[in-house]
Every structure is written in structure tokens, then in C-alpha cells.
């Protein structure tokens, strides 16, 4: 019997995942905007968020949340972190029991600092939950390029059943039971991408960029493991893979913000020009607060914070990173005693 899928949120990534699912199973995309819903349903395009892309013809779309949710055997939530809780609350009354709920959102709830799957568990107790994450640039996947992703769920029996639903063409999905690690990695990588972009803007070489990414990943792992994630997750697609794609991509807003800061522009100038805020700009103070709470040193996060909010120049920030006391490389990571 087919597993019917519903995806909430018709932004670029929600639409892309719905398109991938439609290759394998009956899939409905819920769009808040009736025009977007009609366009996806009738023309198999979403020109606002994915200009030029052709979506799978069997993908259905609607702006009727109740109708979209009622038939779902799997609910995928592609709404950004600030609207995530409300979308789930809106879906709750029509969702059948035991239906797994998968988050596509990377970020933490402002104020509560909760991860998205913690919100699912609060609002939909009893539903198995998980997250699809990894180095996934929507445009490249729609163009049919090879990509790999991670389905993070504690219950491996369910995740192995869902794995095949998401795989399509050259898009591959791996399973990982470490939900906490995958979610923390997704939230932290944007801050490190700003630091990496700063190195680009300062015109430094490949050594420096490699060192920033590597040491940045170590910071992510230190905080992530303190919060209950597993070390190996940070070296995998949800950690390193996503971090790399973000740091290398010309499309990344976070990398772009860092690059402009590296060139000596102010945050205000950059944000005004972008017409939107990069996720990492918002999450840097949250991550800094969490690091303090767990007693974790995160010098790269501290320097990004200083450049964003304390008037420090990117050049001085890089000097600051290098003047730290010499230490053993893996200080504070993993379980090996040193």
C-alpha cells in the first residue's frame, strides 16, 4: 500500500522535496498562497521560488491545510523555524495518529531555543519525528545533480522505510539515528559559514579557509556533543557535508554576509542591500549563549559575534583567533581521554 505524503510549505526547499517524493508516491504540497498552490497543481511550476524549474507532473498542490493533511501517511514540514510551531498546530486536528513527522527546517526557535523536533514532540506527542538534512542546494537537486542527504530518526525501522521514499535519481538518502546532533549541526553551520566568508572577503588563501572550516567544525562538535549529539554526526553529511556546501556555495546568504564583512562593510549596509537576514546573523547570539550555558569555548563563534554586534573588524577578528594559546588539537571533543 502506498505511503501518501504531505509537505507543508511551498518555498524552494519544501517544493523540491515534494517534487522528489512525487517520483515515488502520491504527494500533496500545501502552499499558504492560493496562487502558488494553483500554479504547482496545474502547471507543475513554482516561478516565485524556483524560477524555470519543471516539477514532477504527478505532484498535487492545495492551499487547503485540512484536505492536505487528512490523507497523509507521512507529514513533511518545510516551513521556516519562525513559523514552524504554528504550522504544526494548524495541522494537528486533521492529522491521523502515529503519522511520522519530518522537519526540513534548520534553526532554533527564537526565545525557547528549542530544536524543531522538540517542537514536534511538544505539539504532536506520540508521533515519530525526524529531520531531513545535509548539503542540499535546491537548484542543484532540481537540475538533477548528484547529492546526498541524511534522514535523522531515532527509530531506524521507520527511517529505513522512509529512506526509499526520498531517494530519486541522483539524490541519495542515508539514515542516522542521532537526531540531536543533526539538528544542532544544521543550526551551527551558518555561523561558521559567516566566518569562512570573512576569510574569503579578506582575500586569504586555501590554507586559512581549510583551517577555519576544520576548526569551526570542531567547535560545532564540542557544543553538539555537550548537548547530546554524537561526534561522528559532525563528520558526516549533516555536519561537515552541509558546512562545506554552505562555505563553498556562491548562493549561500551566510557566506555572502561574511564575505562582505571581510571586505570592511558594516552589517547594516549588507542587510539593507540583501532585503533579507541570513539565518546565521540571528543565530550567532543564540549559539554564543548556549556555549556559555554549557561552558564550551567557541572562539570562532565569539569572533563572529564581535564582528556582527561589537564593532570589531574582520581583520582584527582573524588576528584574535590566531593569538589564542596553543592547545592540543582535539581538546574537548569526543570521548578519548587526553
Amino acid at each position: 500500500m502506498a505511503i501518501r505524503c504531505t509537505v507543508l510549505g511551498a518555498g524552494s526547499w519544501g517544493t523540491t522535496v515534494a517534487h522528489l517524493l512525487a517520483h515515488n508516491t502520491p504527494t500533496v504540497l500545501w502552499a499558504r498562497d492560493p496562487e502558488v498552490a494553483a500554479e504547482v497543481d496545474e502547471k507543475a511550476t513554482n516561478e516565485r521560488y524556483l524560477p524555470g524549474a519543471e516539477l514532477h507532473p504527478s505532484l498535487r498542490a492545495t492551499d487547503d491545510m485540512a484536505a492536505a493533511v487528512a490523507s497523509a501517511d507521512l507529514l513533511v514540514v518545510g516551513v521556516p523555524s519562525h513559523g514552524f510551531r504554528q504550522a504544526i498546530v494548524d495541522a494537528r486536528d486533521d492529522l491521523r495518529p502515529w503519522v511520522p513527522v519530518i522537519s526540513l527546517a534548520k534553526g532554533l526557535e527564537q526565545g525557547t531555543r528549542l530544536r524543531m523536533t522538540q517542537i514536534i514532540d511538544q505539539e504532536l506527542p506520540g508521533h515519530p519525528y525526524g529531520m531531513l538534512t545535509g548539503p542540499n542546494l535546491a537548484r542543484e537537486i532540481l537540475a538533477g545533480e548528484a547529492a546526498a542527504s541524511v534522514l535523522a530518526m531515532a527509530d531506524e525501522t521507520i527511517s529505513e522505510q522512509l529512506q526509499d521514499l526520498f531517494c530519486s535519481g541522483l539524490f541519495r538518502v542515508y539514515t542516522n539515528p542521532d537526531v540531536v546532533g543533526c539538528e544542532i549541526a544544521g543550526s551551527l553551520k551558518n555561523v561558521i559559514a559567516i566566518a569562512s566568508g570573512m576569510a574569503d572577503g579578506l582575500g586569504t588563501g586555501d590554507n586559512t579557509r581549510a583551517a577555519v572550516i576544520t576548526r569551526g567544525l570542531a567547535e560545532m562538535a564540542r557544543l553538539g556533543t555537550a548537548m547530546g549529539g554524537h561526534t561522528v554526526t559532525f563528520g558526516g553529511l549533516a555536519g561537515l557535508g552541509d558546512l562545506l556546501a554552505t562555505c563553498m556555495s556562491r548562493q549561500s546568504r551566510n557566506r555572502h554576509v561574511g564575505e562582505q564583512l571581510g571586505r570592511g562593510r558594516t552589517l547594516d549596509e549588507i542587510v539593507t542591500e540583501m532585503h533579507m537576514v541570513a539565518e546565521g546573523v540571528k543565530s550567532t547570539p543564540v549559539v554564543k549563549a548556549m556555549a556559555a550555558e554549557h561552558g564550551i569555548e567557541m572562539p570562532i563563534v565569539d569572533e563572529v559575534h564581535a564582528v556582527l554586534y561589537e564593532g570589531r573588524s574582520a581583520k582584527d577578528a582573524y588576528q584574535g583567533l590566531l593569538n589564542r594559546a596553543h592547545v592540543a588539537e582535539m581538546h574537548g571533543i569526543g570521548s578519548r581521554s587526553r
Copy 2:
């Protein structure tokens, strides 16, 4: 009392490390070629290997091995893997006992498949040994750009004393007691860099490149931990850091070979044009044999081998990687039971 340093080998990296040491302590560089030795000693340049670079004025150089070695309190060996054993044998009679010996070479001895520190231990028993490794492009470091490196030694008391000798300006050194992991990582990364270069040559996007590097690192960690290395090393500067610098750098010969293969050229054509062989081309069959010996799956290494030596196209190799059965992401890595 000053620790006097001797560096064997006046290639680009040996000369650069000698230049860094000369900032902190009396240092002698041994060059096989008397003209190179005289040029470094008298003019503080090495135009053959580091055109345009100005070396530290206190750096001395000689072609007299016995004189260079006799005064050493620390011996650094910057000779490539194929001449490494002979250089140590030549130095042996003049080297005082207990003097630490640090390898700069990345690679395995052909035939024996031994790591460089295993050769040190065979030929100079009783001498503490280690390796300096990481994302280090000589030209960038000479230009004074920020970079970070790893000093791998089992004895952390000695490595902490040596750490400060290597640090200079924006060049930082971390310690790591996992010598095996650092050496294996240095040998394997060139093979993965060929695979990453193939993706570049095929014109794939950032998703694909991020996934290849991430999955490639996982292969490195699988073999490396089976051979006695620690998982965390592969996520650090000697593993990930060096791999990233190699995969991103336009200067990397291994990445270049992969890129040309991705564009459909044959290995013969590429090698003829380069006038030198990239290290990864030689080490791919060695790594494949070691993987078989340890019963480790290394699909990226297998595909690189097939393209280099079995007439497979880069395009087919990429398809082959993606058609593998879906698996749990961290299958075979680390100590967590799955």
C-alpha cells in the same frame, strides 16, 4: 639552552619549515645540491623551489650532511617518501642519541607500504619520532597567511616543547598524540582529492563536491581506524583540514589530475603534460590493496582506481557511486554500535 634544528631536504616544504624554525631557534637546512645550499645560506632565497620568496636571514644551509646533523637537537626530515629511508640512513652515524626526528613527508614507502615514522623507528630505534602535517601550502605560509598545522607525537611532553619552535607569525601548531591516524590521513587524502577533482571536471555543483569530500573522509576514517588511528584525527587538521586544502586548491596536483580525468582526458595524456606524477596516482593501488587486506569498503577509492587503471570514464564512476545500496551513514566508523 637553545634547541638547534636541522632540516633535511631543501624542496619547497622543507625550506619553508626551516624558514619558520629559523624565526625561533638556530636552524640549518641540508640541501643535496651545493648550489641550492649556497644560495639559501648566502642570499636567503631558493629560486628553484620557492621563486620570489625571502627566507629568514638567520637560516643557515649546507650540502654537508655530517656537519648539518652533528649539531642537531631536533632533526626534521623533508625528503619525499621515495628517498626518505636513504636520507635517514645517511644521517644516522652523525646524529646524537635521543634526538627527536620529525617527518614532513606524506606517503607510504613503495613495496613495504610502511609509514614514514615506521621507517624512522626501524632505522633510528630509541629516537622519539613524529610528523608535522596539516593544510599547508608552502607559498601561502611564506606569504605570511594564517595557517594551522598538527605536530603528531605519541609523547606529549616532547610535542608540547617542540610546538613553540614551529609556531611563527600566523602559523599555528596543534599537538595530537595519534601518529598513525595523522600519517594515514596524509596518505589517503590525495586519492580523495582526485575524486573531488573529477567532480570539478564533470562540472557538478557544490552539493556533489561537498558529498564527495564528506563521504571520502568517511572512507579515510574507516581504513584509518582499522589500522589503529583515532576517529577524531580524521575530523581534524591532519584529516579534514588537509583534505579540504587539497580539494580546494588550484595548486594541488592531485586535484588537477582528477579535474582533467573528469573532462574526459586519459591518464597518459595528463601525466605527459604535467612532467611529474601526482602522489595520489601512485598511492591509489596501494590504498586499494590495504582496504582489501583490512576488509574495508572504499567505494570512492575503487572508482578512482577504475578510472585511473581500468579504463572507466569519470562519468560512469560517478553513476557507480550513486547506485550503491542505501546504507546507514556512519556504517563502519567509530566505536558506536549501530
